[in-house]
């Protein structure tokens, strides 16, 4: 069984169905790509997994524990980290401060109140900064980073959390060719120790990283398989030819 | 009946219920302008109480210095205070639309200036607005007695609600307002000038406060500080209602009625305290208020 299991998830906003009986099994130490045209329900699914929205029905299990409907911070503490579609970093803080905030092993306000130095964090910060290639940029304000660097900073923040499962919503959006190459190498390295769920449109990138691909359409499950199987799938072709994406 | 409820006095309780409607109408009329301004522009106008006060003073001034009959003072106050609101929006608020906390503070600064300005001009002693003799009398409805003027207030409130509803849901201007409220950028793409819409709603909201103020000047005495006693209640009506017109009507009626019922069992001030506690608890479950305005999702 998977480390993250989604069972029959549904969501509707006063009649409008955005997610319809969607199920997904994510196996440990694999990278699962979620594909689908706009409005397929990919970001909504991520919102449900991370507690940002509550499902109308269905269950989400993490390591066989029910996490459906928990608050965002509780789910994050259980080991799910998330990168947002529109990079969400703290623009007024420096790159270093962004990474420091994300190191959330200790979440109690009182214990953090007189915490000024943290050797464990320093080590982790050096490691992550190297990983995402921001060692030279630590002192500058996050708001001044380029788009690709901002993406990496947010990936770095997720890594600082040290989660079991990383949810990445369009991590390669707005990146140059070289940056995408670097990101796919990083992801292939990451999946040796972590489980990843990636929402992505760039098929070349998906081909580089995905172990298994799940396609969503109109809030429902359409197909699951390897990238080759998916590309040969007639129903998937139909869905994609019907929209402007690809 | 008596044996069932102990010393529960049914007729007094029924009067309390009717009084609640009157209290609700007063709170609602105080909150109308605030609702429109908050609902449309998202501005918490802390100077709203002083707009009420200005309405009372304009009516007093027109009556005392120019002998204008009271029922003409009401529309005149609408125009005068509406103009004040227009000037405030053009001169200050429009620079602060994307800073909600700062608008709150800046409008509070305005309220201080207005209150002290009026105090310097008219002094701190109370003024009175005279109404035709017949409105000072009370009418008996069965066992219940209410001053005729409170009924006038109730009727004017109902009339204003109907007019605002018509303006917002049946006219072109209203459609523009609703478009801007839901999605400013989208509305701009369709050629709606959101700046102008905000300006007009601000003036309208201020004008409504002017009307309410001239009525309060009759219900009570006219003082530079009179606004503060109404404004907190008006805010609560808006918060509970969620910023929409229907929400404010429901919240005004509901809180007015509850206040009256609580007051029947305890005292006026303790009823107020209970009401606040109840509202805090309500917000725990409905943080957006009863009838929140739906905005475009980010």
């Amino acid at each position: 069984m998977g480390i993250l299991e989604i069972h029959n998830l549904s969501k509707d906003y006063s009649g409008t169905v955005v997610l319809n009986d969607f199920s997904l099994d994510v196996v440990e130490l694999t990278l699962c790509c979620l594909l689908g045209p706009n409005g397929a329900g990919k970001t909504t699914t991520m919102d449900m997994i991370t507690g940002r929205q509550k499902p109308s029905s269905g269950r989400i299990l993490l390591n066989d524990n029910d996490i459906t409907g928990l608050d965002e911070h509780e789910i994050a503490r259980r080991g799910i980290g998330r990168k947002f579609q529109v990079p969400a970093v703290f623009k007024d803080l420096t790159v270093r401060q962004n990474l420091e905030v994300a190191y959330s092993r200790q979440t109690s306000p009182f214990k953090n109140m007189f915490r000024f130095r943290d050797p464990g964090m320093e080590r982790k910060l050096d490691e992550v900064a190297t990983q995402v290639g921001l060692t030279q940029r630590l002192a500058i304000e996050a708001g001044t980073l380029s788009h690709g660097e901002t993406q990496w900073l947010e990936i770095g923040m997720v890594l600082m959390q040290d989660p079991q499962i990383l949810l990445m919503d369009e991590p390669a959006a707005g990146m140059t060719e070289q940056e995408i190459d670097k990101t796919s190498r990083m992801f292939n390295e990451l999946k040796k120790t972590k489980t990843l769920v990636v929402v992505e449109h760039d098929m070349a990138f998906v081909r580089e990283i995905a172990d298994v691909v799940t396609v969503m359409h109109m809030g429902a499950h359409l197909a699951t398989g390897s990238i080759d199987q998916i590309e040969a799938n007639a129903r998937v072709r139909e869905v994609y030819l019907g929209s402007e994406e690809h | 009946m008596d044996s069932l409820f102990g010393n529960f006095d049914l007729s007094a309780f029924a009067s309390a219920l009717l009084l609640g409607i009157s209290i609700g109408s007063i709170w609602l009329i105080a909150a109308l302008g605030l609702t429109i301004i908050y609902g449309t522009a998202g501005v918490i106008n802390m100077a709203h109480g002083e707009f009420l006060m200005l309405g009372a003073y304009s009516s007093y001034m027109l009556q005392a210095y120019f002998g204008v009959p009271f029922f003409l003072c009401i529309p005149a106050s609408f125009v005068i205070v509406g103009l004040v609101g227009l000037i405030m929006e053009r001169g200050l608020i429009r620079y602060l639309y994307n800073r909600p906390l700062d608008t709150l503070l800046a409008t509070w600064g305005v309220s201080l200036v207005l209150m002290q300005g009026v105090r310097l001009i008219f002094g701190s002693d109370p003024k009175y607005i005279a109404v035709p003799q017949m409105f000072q009398e009370s009418v008996e409805i069965g066992f219940f007695s209410i001053s005729l003027f409170r009924i006038v207030v109730l009727l004017i409130t109902a009339l204003l609600v109907a007019m605002i509803w018509y303006l917002f849901y049946r006219t072109r201007f209203g459609m523009q307002v609703r478009a801007v409220t839901q999605n400013k950028e989208m509305a701009a793409a369709f050629g709606i000038n959101s700046g102008r819409v905000y300006m007009m709603t601000f003036a309208l909201g201020a004008g409504l406060a002017g009307v309410a103020g001239s009525l309060f000047g009759v219900l009570n005495i006219v003082l530079p500080t009179m606004g503060t006693s109404y404004v907190v209640q008006a805010f609560l009506v808006v918060v509970v209602g969620g910023g929409s017109l229907v929400g404010s009507v429901a919240a005004g009626a509901g809180t007015g009625e509850l206040q009256s019922i609580f007051a029947y069992f305890t005292s006026d001030t303790f009823a107020r305290f209970l009401l606040f506690v109840l509202i805090v608890i309500l917000l725990r479950y409905k943080p957006q208020g009863l009838f929140a305005i739906t905005k475009a999702r980010r």
């Binding site: 940002r52 608050d71 965002e72 911070h73 994050a76 503490r77 980290g81 947002f84 969400a88 703290f90 623009k91 803080l93 401060q97 420091e100 905030v101 994300a102 959330s104 979440t107 306000p109 009182f110 953090n112 109140m113 007189f114 915490r115 000024f116 959390q161 | 200050l92 620079y95 602060l96 800073r99 909600p100 906390l101 700062d102 709150l104 503070l105 800046a106 509070w108 600064g109 305005v110 309220s111 201080l112 200036v113 002290q116 300005g117 105090r119 310097l120 503060t228 907190v232 805010f235 918060v239 005292s267 001030t269 303790f270 305290f273 606040f276 509202i279 805090v280 917000l283 725990r284 943080p287």
Partner: protein, 371 residues
Amino acid sequence: MFKSNPYHNKTAQWVVYVLFFGALAFVPVLSDDAFMMNQFATYGVFGMLALSISLCWGFGGILNLGQGIAFGLGAYGMAMTMQMQSQDPETSPMPPFMLNNSVEQLPLMWEPFWHTGWGIFIALAVPTLFCVIFGTIMFRARVSGPFFAIMSLAMLSAWYTIILDSQPFTNGVNGISPPAPLSIGGFEIDPYSGFIYWMVLFLLAAMTLIIKLITTSKFGLIVQAVRADSERVRFLGYSVSYYETVIYAVSGFIAAIAGCCWVVAVQYVSPAQLDVSFSISMVIWAGIGGRMSLLGSIIGAFMIQGGQSYLGDEFLATWLLILGGFFIFVVRFLPKGLAGLLESGLGLLVAKPAAERESAPGPVAGAKVQG
């Protein structure tokens, strides 16, 4: 010339803080006018309130228009403690105002105040507990920004009316005026002495330095992140409502201490301390002085309250008119207040191309206020 803005220099900030409070500590040496000592002590109390607002609003981003609740409850607690010090269980078990209100026996609510230690504990614990409960309800429901400001204002007016209305327990509008100064373990704190001034100043300085320290900790960093984007912080595993409640409660605790000191200094408390306009004045002090700066806010309180008391009552309306106008100006053009003005002023001293260097004013002329 500086390489970077000295306003942001951590060492310089600490030096300025220490110098500021050090200089204030010498005031009683220069003057021993007892009345002035008392008045300066009350300014210190206003400074504490400004500090609490700066923490909550400037640093935490939570605009609290109801700080008078914590201040007032603290003040009433201290006034009740001091009042009971003048009562005797045998001969006069009840405060005189209760007899006037024909209360038969001491209300249960007053019993713990026989004991000074318990009294002071309650004076501090009740307001803090109120903040914890109210804060938890509001922040859990994700009430924030202007909505929280309105709710805190409404809550304040609720407390105001209830205290005003509970004549038999609180002496209503007249308030409580304990007949004798506070005495702790036989030592009487003379409200007209250098001692009261030093006591208030010591508490103000200690609290300011602790808050300053906290803002530089990991906690401070997380709160900064919450202020910038509370939504994002949740996904990092922090409970935003917990952090907001802690900030709000610590700020309330400081206000409660201020309330206690206030009554020790003026021997008087009334519902006026919970008046809406007083709570909003606190926000004005911090706003004009610079809400992002602890010291700026404190100086804002000193300036405005000082100005107000020296102008006297006949100019009060004019003074408030000007204050309101100035406040509008600050909100519109100087969101960081006078401290922000200093920040940009010192920013001009940062090393620039050679041509401009000649005309720049001398260094550190005004490293007085900092962030």
